[in-house]
């Protein structure tokens, strides 16, 4: 049998042209392995929010590159990221997504570990040889060394020599700051409830879709149409929020040309002037909004409160796996499993000090937009799966990302702006090539 050559830096470079990407970027398991190594293994990856780890012993299970990890809060208040595997004989330790436990016990031979991963006890210690060292590194749960929080958002990286987290985030720290500033008390808590959806498609498809302003008109037409024909303000549950959200995806030329797209270094992007008609409720005469604004003014003063609330940035894509919507208190995380399998975790935030109804609206937003039964997101996911099916089965090599190529504008900082453009996808692939062609970290 012919030995397959390992994929080279030149092969990677050849996959991305200024206006095209080769299907291999989505359909080749070998490319995926390299992504796990060079993108998800080298960049800072968001794992959890500190409000999920309030008490010592609290843990949250998630994935970092190809590894299942536990994010834990130790008794000293520090956050640790541990491989979810027992150092004794390799058993997977924790079988639930979250919980609270002062000791992590391995069910096989009952070694137990503290939340920082250090070995606490082993049963029948006397039968271990004298050389057995409870403190030896090989007897501790393996730790991810580099863990950092940006204002409550916990990131980790497998990279031993990473760039500073804030350097990777670049201008995207602004939107995390803005989310926190939207809370009159300057702090947010992540919702305890969330959805995890699995789709049969490459992780990049979800990021591209989140920056794609052309698809809503077509992909969401069934829910737009149904919402348009439905009577307004008929539901007693949500001040017309669900219907308005569904209807808002009926984009026409005004949105195609009116939504501003902004691309930044490191693969980040965001949109402004999205859902410009508002999707939460008619905010002009809404008592909840009035009370909220009152509290914002009390906390920050008139001018600063207005500044904070005027930040209009939708689908802030923090490359490679986070999509943040500050004004709707929403976040989506992309978790790659295989070249053709991805998890999406969707959550929302509570703004501390804001009226309770703001959180209730965020919860409804979350359900309407992204529940597994969502009338919106289910059609998106369907398209992601159909793209993967096409890319997997047909070997026509090139995909087109040319829209807007001649009209985008790049400024001296390297930021690109555009309208009616596939520029955010090109920005993502620029970062992709940069990361994927670095042979050493």
């Amino acid at each position: 049998m012919e030995q397959q050559e390992a994929i080279t830096v030149d092969d990677i470079r050849d996959l991305v042209r200024p206006h095209q990407v080769h299907r291999r970027a989505y359909a080749d398991p070998e490319v995926f392995q390299l992504e796990m190594e060079r993108i998800f293994g080298r960049m800072w990856i968001y794992l959890a929010h500190e409000s999920q780890l309030r008490k010592p012993g609290a843990f949250f299970r998630t994935r970092l590159a190809g590894t299942e990890v536990l994010v834990t809060r130790h008794t000293d208040g520090e956050v640790y990221v541990l491989h979810n595997r027992c150092p004794h004989r390799g058993a997977r330790m924790c079988m639930v997504d979250r919980g609270n436990s002062r000791l992590l016990n391995c069910p096989y031979h009952a070694w137990s570990f503290r939340p920082d991963g250090t070995l606490s006890t082993v049963p029948h210690k006397q039968s271990y040889p004298e050389s057995f060292d409870m403190e030896a590194p090989e007897n501790q749960m393996q730790r991810v060394r580099n863990v950092e929080s940006y204002r409550g958002f916990i990131f980790a990286t497998l990279n031993e020599t990473p760039v500073p987290l804030t350097e990777q985030l670049g201008e995207m720290t602004d939107i995390i700051d803005n989310l926190l500033a939207r809370a009159p008390e300057g702090e947010v808590e992540i919702s305890e409830s969330y959805f995890t959806l699995e789709y049969k498609g490459n992780w990049k498809l979800h990021l591209e879709n989140a920056a794609d302003i052309f698809h809503p008109t077509f992909v969401h037409s069934s829910s737009v149409g149904a919402a348009k024909r439905a009577p307004q303000n008929a539901s007693r549950l949500d001040s017309d929020q669900t219907r308005t959200m569904l209807e808002a995806n009926g984009f026409g030329i005004d949105q195609w040309e009116g939504i501003r797209l902004n691309g930044l270094p490191n693969g980040h992007s965001y949109m402004s002037n999205f859902y410009s008609k508002g999707v939460l409720v008619d905010q002009t005469e809404d008592p909840v909004m009035t009370e909220y604004k009152k509290r914002m003014v009390a906390a920050y003063g008139e001018e600063k409160a207005a500044d904070i609330l005027s930040v209009d940035r939708f689908n802030n894509i923090i490359y490679p796996n986070m999509i943040l919507n500050a004004q709707h208190q929403q976040m989506r995380i992309t978790i790659p499993l295989a070249h053709d399998r991805t998890l999406i975790r969707v959550q929302c935030f509570r703004l501390k000090g804001a009226p309770d109804e703001m959180f209730e609206r965020a919860i409804r937003f979350l359900s309407t937009l992204a529940s597994p039964a969502s009338m919106i997101f289910s059609d998106d996911v369907e398209m992601l799966e159909r793209c993967q099916a096409g890319l997997d089965r047909d070997d026509t090599p090139w995909l087109d990302f040319s829209r807007g190529l001649d009209i985008d504008r790049t400024d001296e900082t390297g930021s690109v702006s555009g309208v009616a453009s596939e520029m955010p996808m090109r920005v993502q692939f620029k970062a992709w090539v940069e990361m994927m062609t670095q042979e050493v970290a």
Partner: protein
Amino acid sequence: MDDATLQNKVEKFLFTEARLLDSGDFSAWLELYAPDGIYWMPSQPGQTDAKTVASIIYEDHPILSIRVQRLFEARALVLTPMPETVHMLSNIEVEDAGEDGLVRAEATFICIQYQANEQKIFSGRQRFDLLPEGDSFRIRLKRVDLLNAGGTLPLITIPF
């Protein structure tokens, strides 16, 4: 009404609901719900709150009717081709009307969906608050607790 008669009436009603879903008669299905009726599919096992905890579905009649309208839209991508379903209910337990006049019923269910050469299985428990009306009922509340609520879920298109 004696226990057996009530049990029989409720079972008949629940089987009608299942059949309407299986036959794609979603408009008639929606008619089974009281004007203030609610369809609730929690996202978490044992969930008690639909306001501060996200639900897979928490919809009243007007929003459900948008959902039903969408099922008829030609362009609903996730519904092309239209999934075929078999809804099966079992272990039906009925509790006679309390002071509020509502008949309560619980059942286990399995729903098998077939679409584009793929079969999916959903299962769990359903709870009903039923408002007696004439010889039948209207649904005031239907709660569907999926066995895998809280886990990783596939897309849900046809209600259970």
